[in-house]
């Protein structure tokens, strides 16, 4: 996926919390730093999941050897909220902001359990939003080497 150039994509001076990658999550965060959304594919059954876990939810494999697999980042909004008071550091200047609950719709997910992500909607609190609205992933660059997934409305 090509990174969309937008002001939010440039590194910002922020105290926002950052992830501490571990063995299971490091491939996800490495891909995110390249502005690429990946899901974890079980090497035994091929099911895509997020986040990866110690045992595959789909086939029960105790050695799922998850492979970070790029997806197209498209999704539909299942729910949202406007956060007006954040309990986290680094968000005081960002409230109010919209959080969206997104079901990913990459064709690779057809016929398998749904995968849902929650992230910020970067279009602002006045953007028209409804259940089923089309979104695509975007990335917020928190540090030169760290980007976290978010979403923006997609033209349908």
């Amino acid at each position: 996926m090509t990174a969309v150039e937008r002001p939010e994509a440039r590194p910002v001076d922020t105290q926002r919390p950052v992830p501490v990658p571990d063995e299971l999550s490091a491939p996800f965060w490495a891909a995110a730093a390249r502005h690429e959304l990946t899901l974890a594919r079980c090497s035994d059954c091929g099911t895509l999941t997020h986040p990866p876990d110690l045992v595959c939810d789909a086939c029960g494999s105790t050695s799922p050897r998850f492979a970070a697999t790029p997806v197209d980042g498209r999704g539909v909004v299942r729910s949202w909220t406007v956060v007006r008071q954040s309990f986290l550091p680094g968000f005081a200047d960002l409230v109010p902001f919209v959080l969206v609950d997104v079901q990913l719709v990459d064709p690779a997910l057809a016929g398998q359990p749904d995968v849902r992500l929650v992230g910020r909607l970067l279009d602002g609190v006045d953007a028209p939003l409804s259940a089923g609205a089309a979104v695509r992933v975007a990335f917020e660059q928190l540090r030169p080497d760290l980007a976290v997934p978010a979403f923006e409305l997609a033209a349908s």
Partner: protein, 400 residues
């Protein structure tokens, strides 16, 4: 496998105590718990040295950076036992989210199996100084790395996403939720121990309150408090010789989420599907159905959970909870209504988790509810937490 609880109605609640519910108690949570447990044991007509079992759940439901210190911010079964009757035959803690059904189940099973004769089940909730949920953490490892960096953090955003999904799908209004919150606060205002004693909320006050995480406002959330409740359980056989009318535990069930999700992510469909199977297990365990329950007390730590419990239990079809509560549907003062928040709930007591629901069922079935006593309550049901991660208990006046 019938799912029938073999110890149905063989274990009974025989006494209780409820501390005052305050923003900050004038003594430690541990001291308050010892006092409350002693009062419950005395209420049951027992002595501390007869209590050979202690059960609790120590969940400290904050997303903030508050220390978990036994006796200060939580009170474990071991901590209480050491101060009431050291080296009991049985001490256990429930670690899941449906803490009241979970810990009551541990106590009932212990008595039914003979592992203990008299068990104190307590729940001690603490309100730390400073912001309850805020954190200054700037690094998140483990499961929270998938949500906190993205700005998804804390239970308000959690329930706001679930409830907005409900609002969008079923057209629930803020006016309907006002009925829930006003009803909880009305009943809570009548309870002498409640933080909200003599302080009901009007519909206008509710509707004027600004949003925190749309569509959730402050009044949709229970307020953090210091408070302790304790219940004494024993066998139905021993209960006959004790001073109060025993209330037997007929069965229990807890929910099982269908899908592993992000931390604190509660998609509406997960709650609905797991709630339905939870209810099936509950009826099988208790050997009775909803139509045989005289009094249902639903959980309301966040007001929308009232709809989700009503629907999970089958009081109304899925998506109809917001209509069920309209026009006095749950008004405890209206004859023929379904007073599911008679306990005041967490919204009307303070953050006592599932205690108010359990307590109201006990008081009504044992005939000890005083001014609030309703006629002919011989069976009751209490809920706690969400239908997919919490659970419910069924009670009966009849011994098994």
């Amino acid at each position: 496998m019938s799912g029938r609880f073999r110890a149905r109605d063989q274990v009974a609640i025989v006494g209780y105590a409820q501390s005052p519910v305050t923003r900050h108690a004038d003594r430690s949570l541990g001291a308050l718990t010892v006092e409350t447990a002693r009062a419950a044991i005395a209420d049951a007509g027992l002595e501390a040295d007869q209590v050979d079992g202690f059960v609790t759940a120590t969940l400290f439901p904050t997303s903030g950076a508050h220390a978990v210190v036994d006796g200060v911010s939580v009170v474990s079964a071991d901590w209480l036992a050491a101060r009431l009757n050291p080296n009991p035959r049985y001490a256990a803690g429930f670690s899941g989210l449906g803490q009241i059904p979970g810990s009551m189940a541990l106590a009932v099973n212990a008595i039914a199996s003979g592992a203990a004769d008299h068990v104190v089940v307590h729940r001690a909730l603490h309100n730390p100084r400073g912001s309850y949920h805020a954190t200054s953490s700037t690094e998140f490892a483990g499961p929270m790395q998938w949500t906190a960096p993205q700005g998804f953090f804390g239970p308000l955003a959690m329930i706001a996403l679930t409830y907005n999904e409900y609002v969008q799908r079923y057209g629930a209004s803020r006016e309907a939720l006002a009925e829930v919150v006003v009803e909880a606060r009305k009943n809570g205002a009548r309870l002498p121990w409640s933080y909200w004693a003599d302080r009901p909320l009007t519909r206008e006050q509710y509707l004027a309150e600004p949003m925190l995480d749309d569509p959730i406002s402050r009044f949709d959330c229970d307020i953090p408090i210091d408070g302790v409740a304790a219940f004494v359980l024993t066998s139905a056989e021993r209960a006959r010789d004790l001073p109060h009318r025993p209330v037997h535990v007929s069965g229990y069930a807890t929910g099982a989420p269908p899908t592993r999700r992000l931390p604190a992510h509660w998609p509406l469909d997960d709650l609905v599907s797991a709630g339905a199977t939870m209810a099936e297990r509950l009826w099988a365990s208790a050997g009775m159905g909803l139509d045989e329950i005289d009094l249902v007390q639903v959980y309301d730590g966040f007001s929308p959970l009232v709809y989700l419990w009503l629907e999970a239990l089958g009081r109304c079809p899925v998506g109809e909870g917001h209509r069920y509560v309209r026009d006095g549907g749950i008004d405890s003062d209206r004859p023929g209504a379904d007073p599911v928040l008679l306990s005041g709930g967490s919204l009307g007591n303070g953050r006592m988790h599932g205690v108010p629901q359990l307590l109201e069922c006990y008081l009504q079935v044992s005939g000890r509810a005083g001014d609030r006593q309703r006629p002919d309550v011989t069976t009751a049901l209490s809920c706690h937490s969400s239908p997919h991660l919490g659970g419910a208990l069924v009670y009966s006046a009849e011994a098994g």
